[in-house]
Structure formats: structure tokens, C-alpha cells
């Protein structure tokens, strides 16, 4: 079709028209109909809506179905322009999230504007091509990967609730669970015993056993997951981009060994500090936000870090990653490296636990429970959260550095969204109410991952199904089994007392 002397594909014009049309219909549905009013009420207080006679199960199913319908429509409309493939999932989810957050949660027009803005920006990047700015040659097309996250980071720092969003009316959440406190002597003894068995294992299995490789992975994952659980569970700081600090630690170790030629010990010691520095900088921005906005901004920073690692060929070797990062020869003998990992990981988890029971950990939890009360009591809420975020970054960085040395290198995968999601799944799987949770979750996840991946070609589906089943079965996490046991015991004793 010809417009102003230029040719436009008719289909693209149709797409341009469909967007505003769907937006208009959706806006009408939500603001002008009873159903829309109920949906908006339900986002604030589902229970109250139920008490007013609204069947919220149906309502939410319908909303979900409508969302799925629109997503399906979008997918179908996109098909003539881009063939369907299996790699659509995470980048698409991430983009959708970014757009919603940039536009402002709950604002349809905001989302529309944000989508236009980001898509246009990407188009402009491609159109610009490689541009010479002074001595630098900037390849704009490569920036498309970062562009949307860069926009999001800027927007959220400037307008914390998105372009068209308002500060959220506090939704009624469930009261946080009481803190279980310390596990007591038996628990301490149990952990000590477990560590002793793990330390003696190489002597029984031999140093070449595959179990040691798996256990090394588990120990590293446990430290990574524990560092995330510390801020998610105790601080209510939902970080969706914790892989950034894991990856910074890993890349730090690899680069220090490779490019700077540092000895192993120095690289291992300094790499976590690089991660902590990253957490310190990102945290300054992130701690201004809370809830889903915080989650999205952490994700944005992780994506930016990933894109840098992926595209800066000269420094990070791009998608190939850095290889040949091994611990020195004497450490590779026998099970020595396994022992080192076991020692550092358990030390890391122990220190995190210590911190959570210390005043700083209490302050972090107090800030989560009631930021208003914490401020009124004289607690610098944001600085406490910032420090905790940085410490968690440090621990994740240590895990990352150990990971780099155990695998002999690092690739951008370590920084990717899926790596962050893995950590979250470990935490959810294990439960957030004690640091034992992520340790158990990491062990279960890593072991499952390993055995399922070996067993079948459909391991992704199977893995997903198993994780889902476990989470449905143990809503408090696997480590919450203890709570069921206690509740059951209490029930029995009550029943006994009640019996004449």
C-alpha cells in the first residue's frame, strides 16, 4: 500500500490499527462494566469481595483467561512476521514485564505507551547502525538487547511507579509467619554431623566419584540460594536478578585470573568484592522501590549485566565465555577442591545465619514487617536494606567465583534470567522461613536437575512438573515439613487433652 509515496505492508497497517482497538475495548471493559469494577476491587481485597457475594475463583479464572486470550491474539498476530519457535518464552515474558512496569502497574494506557516507546527505541537503534562517536564506534543494533532494560531502569529511578502508575494502595497481604527462632541443640548437632559426613565422603567413595562433582555443585548452589533467601525471606526484598551478583563473582574470578593473571587465592578473595560492589551500586537504585517494582528493577540490572557480558567481545569473549579458569594444580589433587568449596559454602551460610540472628538481621526483618514503625523507632530502613542487599551480593559473588573455578570457566548463561529464576525456585522449593530452606531446596533442585537431565530428553517439562508438584505439596517449602510435624503433634496432644 502506498502512503506519502512510501510502500507499507498492508498487514503492518492492520497491526497498527489493532493495537489501539484492543486497548480501547479493554479499557471500556475494565472501567465501564460491573465485571471490570469487580476485577479492580479484587486486586485490592479478594477476601472482602468474597464476603460481598462475589465468587472470586471464577473472577480470577476469567481474568486469567482473558489475559491468555489477548496473549494468544498477540502471538497469532505476530506469526506472519516471525516464525514460532521454542526460544520465545523468557525474552518475551521479560519484555512484557518490562513494559507493564515502565507503563505503571494497572495502567493500560501506560503499558501501551511504554510498548510504543520501547519498540520505537529498538527500531531507532537498528536504523542507526554502527555510528562513530569521537574515538568510539558504537554498534547501536547490539544495544537492542539492553535498550528496554535501560529504559526501565531510567524510568523507575525517575518515576518509581512507572510512567502512568500511582503509588499502590496497600493490598491486604497475609501476616508474615512468626519467626521460628533458633533450631536448638539438636539442629546444630544435626548440621555438624551432616558436614562431617560430607567431609568424609571422598574417603569412602574415592576422590574421582561423580557424587563429589554433584556435591560441589550443590554446595555452591546452596550458598547462592541462601544469599537470595536472606533478602527475600527476611527482608521482603524480592530480587529477580540475583544471578547478576553470582555472575559478577564468576566473571570477576575468571577475568582476574585470565586478564590480570592474579593467583588463585587473590582472585577468589577479590571476585566476591566485585559482586558486592555491583550490588552496592544496583542496590542504591533498587532500594528506592518495593514489591514488584523492586523485582523488576533487579531483573533489569541483571539483564544489563548479562547483555554487557554477552556483547563485549573484547573483554568477556562474548557468548563463548571465558575458559581455562582452573584452581592451581595442588588444589586439583584428590578431593581438595571439593573440601574447599564445602568449607567456604558452609562458612558463608553460617555467617549469613549469624547475621540474620544478630541485630542487623532483626532490623532487616523489622523493616519488612513495618517500615513505618521501623522508621519511627529510628531505624534507617533503606540503608539497612541496602547493606543486606550488598552482603547478599557478596555471598552470591563467592558462590559465583567458586562456580567459575569448579567449571573451569564462565559463560553469559550464569548471568541470565533463567539462572536468577533457578535460584528463586530453589528458595521456594526449600522454604524461606529458615536458612535451612534454601540449602535443602538447592540440594533438591540440583540433584533433580542432574538426574532428570540424564534420564530423559523431555527433562525441562519433567523438571517443571516435579517442581510444581513439590511446591503444591509443600506450600511452606520442603523444609516446612517440620512445621507439619509440629502441627500434627500439637493436634494429637490437644485431642488427648480433650478426651475425657
Amino acid at each position: 500500500m502506498q502512503i506519502l509515496g512510501r510502500r507499507f505492508p498492508t498487514y503492518d497497517l492492520l497491526l497498527i490499527a489493532v493495537g489501539p482497538l484492543v486497548l480501547g475495548l479493554l479499557a471500556l471493559l475494565l472501567t465501564r462494566t460491573r465485571w471490570g469494577t469487580l476485577v479492580r476491587a479484587a486486586t485490592q481485597d479478594r477476601e472482602m469481595l468474597g464476603a460481598l457475594g462475589v465468587r472470586q475463583g471464577w473472577l480470577f479464572t476469567a481474568v486469567f483467561a482473558l489475559g491468555a486470550l489477548l496473549a494468544g491474539l498477540a502471538g497469532a498476530l505476530q506469526l506472519p512476521r516471525e516464525p514460532a519457535n521454542l526460544e520465545l518464552d523468557l525474552p518475551m515474558v521479560a519484555s512484557a514485564f518490562v513494559i507493564v512496569v515502565v507503563g505503571g502497574m494497572g495502567s493500560l494506557s501506560g503499558a501501551f505507551i511504554a510498548a510504543l516507546l520501547i519498540a520505537e527505541l529498538k527500531a531507532v537503534c537498528i536504523w542507526l547502525g554502527v555510528v562513530q562517536i569521537g574515538p568510539l564506534s558504537v554498534a547501536f543494533p547490539q544495544l537492542t538487547l539492553v535498550a528496554e532494560f535501560l529504559v526501565m531502569a531510567l524510568v523507575l529511578v525517575w518515576r518509581p511507579w512507572g510512567l502512568m502508575g500511582r503509588a499502590p494502595v496497600m493490598a491486604r497481604g497475609e501476616a508474615p509467619l512468626p519467626w521460628p527462632g533458633r533450631g536448638g541443640r539438636a539442629a546444630t548437632l544435626g548440621w555438624a554431623l551432616l558436614l562431617a559426613v560430607l567431609a568424609l565422603l571422598p574417603l569412602m567413595l574415592g576422590a574421582q566419584s561423580y557424587a563429589l562433582v554433584l556435591l560441589t555443585d550443590i554446595a555452591i548452589a546452596a550458598l547462592f540460594a541462601a544469599s537470595l533467601a536472606a533478602i527475600v525471606g527476611h527482608g521482603g526484598l524480592h530480587s529477580f536478578g540475583h544471578a547478576a551478583y553470582f555472575g559478577l563473582g564468576a566473571y570477576g574470578a575468571a577475568l582476574l585470573t585470565h586478564a590480570a593473571g592474579w593467583p588463585f587465592a587473590a582472585a577468589l578473595g577479590v571476585a566476591p568484592l566485585a559482586a558486592a560492589a555491583g550490588a552496592l551500586i544496583y542496590g542504591w537504585f533498587c532500594m528506592r522501590l518495593s514489591g514488584i517494582y523492586l523485582a523488576m528493577l533487579t531483573l533489569a540490572f541483571a539483564q544489563i549485566t548479562w547483555a554487557v557480558a554477552y556483547q563485549w567481545d573484547g573483554f568477556t569473549s562474548g557468548s563463548n565465555g571465558l575458559t581455562g579458569v582452573w584452581p592451581p594444580g595442588w588444589l586439583q589433587q584428590g578431593a581438595r577442591f571439593y573440601w574447599l568449596v564445602l568449607l567456604l559454602s558452609s562458612l558463608g551460610v553460617f555467617l549469613l545465619r549469624r547475621l540474620l540472628h544478630a541485630p542487623l538481621g532483626w532490623a532487616l526483618r523489622a523493616a519488612r514487617d513495618s517500615a513505618v514503625r521501623a522508621e519511627a523507632a529510628g531505624l534507617p530502613v533503606r540503608r539497612v536494606q541496602w547493606l543486606a542487599f550488598t552482603v547478599a551480593g557478596l555471598a552470591a559473588g563467592l558462590a559465583g567465583a567458586l562456580f567459575a573455578f569448579s567449571k573451569g570457566g564462565v559463560a553469559p548463561d550464569a548471568l541470565s534470567v533463567s539462572s536468577s529464576v533457578d535460584a528463586l525456585v530453589m528458595v521456594l522449593l526449600g522454604g524461606v522461613h529458615a536458612l535451612a530452606g534454601p540449602v535443602v531446596g538447592a540440594a533438591a533442585f540440583t540433584w533433580l536437575h542432574d538426574s532428570v537431565a540424564h534420564a530423559t530428553d523431555y527433562w525441562r517439562a519433567l523438571m517443571g512438573a516435579i517442581v510444581l508438584a513439590l511446591i503444591l505439596l509443600f506450600p511452606q517449602g520442603i523444609s516446612g515439613i517440620g512445621q507439619y510435624g509440629r502441627a500434627f503433634a500439637a493436634f494429637i496432644s490437644r485431642a488427648r487433652r480433650a478426651a475425657p
Partner: protein, 514 residues
Amino acid sequence: MSLLEVRHLRKSFGGVHAVQGVSLDLAAGEVLALIGPNGACKTTTFQMLGGQLRPDAGRVRLGGRDVTGLAPRQLARLGVGRTFQIAETFTSFTALANVQMALLAHDARHWRFWRRADGYRMPDARALLAQVGMAEQADRPCSELAYGDVKRLELALALAGEPRLLLMDEPTARMAPAERVALMQLARTLAKERGIAVLFTEHSMDVVFGQADRIAVMVRGELLAEGAPEAIREDARVQAAYLGVQSHQNGSGSRLSGKGLEPKTLEKPPSEAKPLLTVRELHAWYGAAHILHGVSFDVRPGEVVALMGRNGAGKSTTLKSLAGLLARTEGELRFMGQDVARWPAHRIARAGLGYVPEERRIFGDLTVLQNLETGRQPPRAWPDGTPLAAWTIERLFALFPNLREMPDRLGARMSGGEQQMLTVARTLMGQPCLLLLDEPSEGVAPVIVQQMAQAVRALKAGGLGIVLSEQNLAFAEAVADRAVVIEQGRIVHEATMAELAADTQARRRYLGVT
């Protein structure tokens, strides 16, 4: 010289002038009550003094130092302690740990990361809890405490900061009458002992007139009057704007008084009608805690049953169980011939049993009309086929005239009293045959309490059955036919409202009032 000097404080929200030039003085050891009708911007004033809001203009001085617009954290360091309208505590901690946390923050020891926190200043923390009468609950998780106890814990948290100035926003809201006076007496004693200046807002007039040294009355963002309690009581402007006419002649001090609210006689006793609701052996649990231990009562059409008793006795829990909002209940609930005991909340509501929550739970992002829409259900008929007079927006606006003036106001922008009216109106949109009203007179100005009482009577006249959870004896006397007194999840006393009103002994024993 006064400790706190407030000069010409102003604040507007998006063009609406909220606080318009408030000036106050408060000396060390003095107790000043800030009272006024709902929507007078008392809370806004409080938030400016506590650092939650920054004033547009005006000055606040504390001990001669300019503290205008400082953050709450900085104010805390300068000796400003506060309690909130809805108590703010650290819910995942035990009561003791709450106080220890406040002490840690006050001592600026919160950066420590090695030594365990649970041993920190234990004796001091226990002493603070003992001071507010919470010694026995020290080791209970905060989330399991009754609301009145949470309020007292909050006072302990504020005291942990060794304040020079204590700001209390409706400190006794949702507490039993006897507890109200006790709490403020405690605050007053502490203020006198330690020279703490106390500024509080309050709707409970016996607390205000009994405990304050001075009273400031705020109406529509401005100070209307200020002075000693006797002078304020006699002030004609204050009576017209807030207290209602001929108020408080008797020293017994009720939160409501004035014409139209004398205890009334029934036109006809509804006792011969068939019960709308039959409750038998109702048990209920919150998590593992067994709260109700076999509660039984009936409600007939046109009958108002008042559930009375102290805080944490199980009144709200009873109403929530009836509305189907608790995860675990046992017992028999018959509503208009149907066994509704196992029904989910939405089905119970659709059967014509309407629930009005204590916390109001207005949808803040929706307008008044939209809030009403969420409750709408088709018109209903009684079991014998006679239709109920259907509630329409127009009829509801007639019942609550204040709402008529703000059909497009967002729920979050309404004052407490307006929200209280809206929450009742919203439930009425469901055309209920029976209404569960949780503390409708709580946290609202005397004038609105009177309106609320008139509304309840109008509903009763329309034949509705009403179960009322109420701590305000005067309100219950004005509207209820029967009283059911609950203590620790059991019914300990039942009487007609008139009998209870006459029975001084029972009142003292069960309700703590004379």
C-alpha cells in the same frame, strides 16, 4: 517555655486545602487532646508532626529547635515517639523481641552483625512490657495478640525510644471501654512522671475529658477552640460541630449522647417469630489457636442482638465465622432454613447474610458508586415470598446523606466516618435479610455515631435481623434488643438490653463499666 511549638501549619492535597494554619503549644508533662469530627484532618496534622508528611507551610519547633519536615527517623532521634491509628508493630516477632528491636534501634546498635540479638537488654525490655501490663504476654508472637494488647505493645515500643514528645493517633481505638481509660491513664501517669508531653487524638469522650489537661478542637482543617476540658464542654460551637447538642451532662461519659438516642422501648417483641439465624455450638480457630468454644444464640427478623465483651473475647471471630471467613469452624449454622456451616463466604453472602467488617475494608481505588456496585445483588424475598424493600443508591443516600455529596470520591480519600457509612451501605447493596455489623461506632465522631444508630434502627424497622459486635455500651443500649456477653470464646451472660442496662453488677463484672 513550651516543648512543642506548632505555628501556622498548612497542607493541601491536589488543590484541596486539608490543614489550614494550625498552631499549637505543648509543655513537657502536659497531655493535650486533639479532637474533632471525621475529616477534620487530625490525622494529616499528626502525620506532619510525626514526619510522615511534609507541611506546605508553617513551622514545628521541638525544644526550641526547628524540626519542620524532618524524617520520622530523625524525629525519633530527637525524642519524638508515636503510636499509629492502626497499630504498627513488628508482626513476625514476639512481644518481647518487638521491644528489644525498638531498644536496639534507639541505641543505634542495629548495625551489629555478630552477637545474637535475642539477649539484648532483656530486663529492660521486660520492664517496659510490665509497665504497659504485657508482662505475661512477653513471649507470645505478636501476630497472636488481641488488638488491644497490640496497642499496648505499640505504646511500649514508643516508650523504648525514651521520647520527650509522644504522639498518639487514636490510641484507644478498638479497645474495650475499661481498657481505653486504663491505657490513657497509664500514658498520663508516665507523662507526669517523666515529663513527656503527650498529644493524642481520640473519639472516646470519657477518655478525652477524663485524661487530657487541655483540649484542642479541630474542624475542617482549622482549630475551632482550645482550652481546659470544662471550657470545651461548655463551648457552644464545639457542641454544635462535634459533640452534638446537650452533651455529657452526666459524668458517666458515653461516646454518644444527644437526642434520638435514648434507650428505647420495643414496639413489639420479636421473640415469637421464627429465627432467621440459629447458631449452635460454634467453635472457631485461628491457625492452631482455638478461639470460640461453643457459642449458641438465635436472631429473629427485626431483632438486634449485641455481642458484647472485652477485647479479644471472640466477638469479631463470631461474626467472621458466620460470614464464612474463617478457615476452620465447627458447629451448626442455620440461616433461613439452610445449613450454611460449610459454605464459602460468597455463597453465604448470596443467601442474604451481609457482613460489615470492623476495619471497613473499602476499595481505595474505586469511587463511592463503584464501591457500592461491588456489593450489588438482585432484590430478595423472605422465605414466605414477601419481597424485601430493595436497596437502591437513592435509598442508601437517603440513609447516609454524607455519601450523596461525594459519589465520585475515591475510597482512599474518604475520612474514617465516611468510610464507615460506605462499608455499611455497600453491604446493604447485597439486599441482606440479616446483617453482621462489626463495631459500627468505632473510630467515628459522636455525630456520626448518632447517624449510625439511626440507620441501624431504620434497618431494624425494615425487618432485618442484626448481629452487632459492640464495645460501646451506650450505642448498644440505643439500638439493641438483646445482649449476649462473650468472654474467652464462651457466652457468659445473656439478657435483654434493658435488663443489662439496669444490672450494675453484671455490667461491672462483664464489661468493666459502671
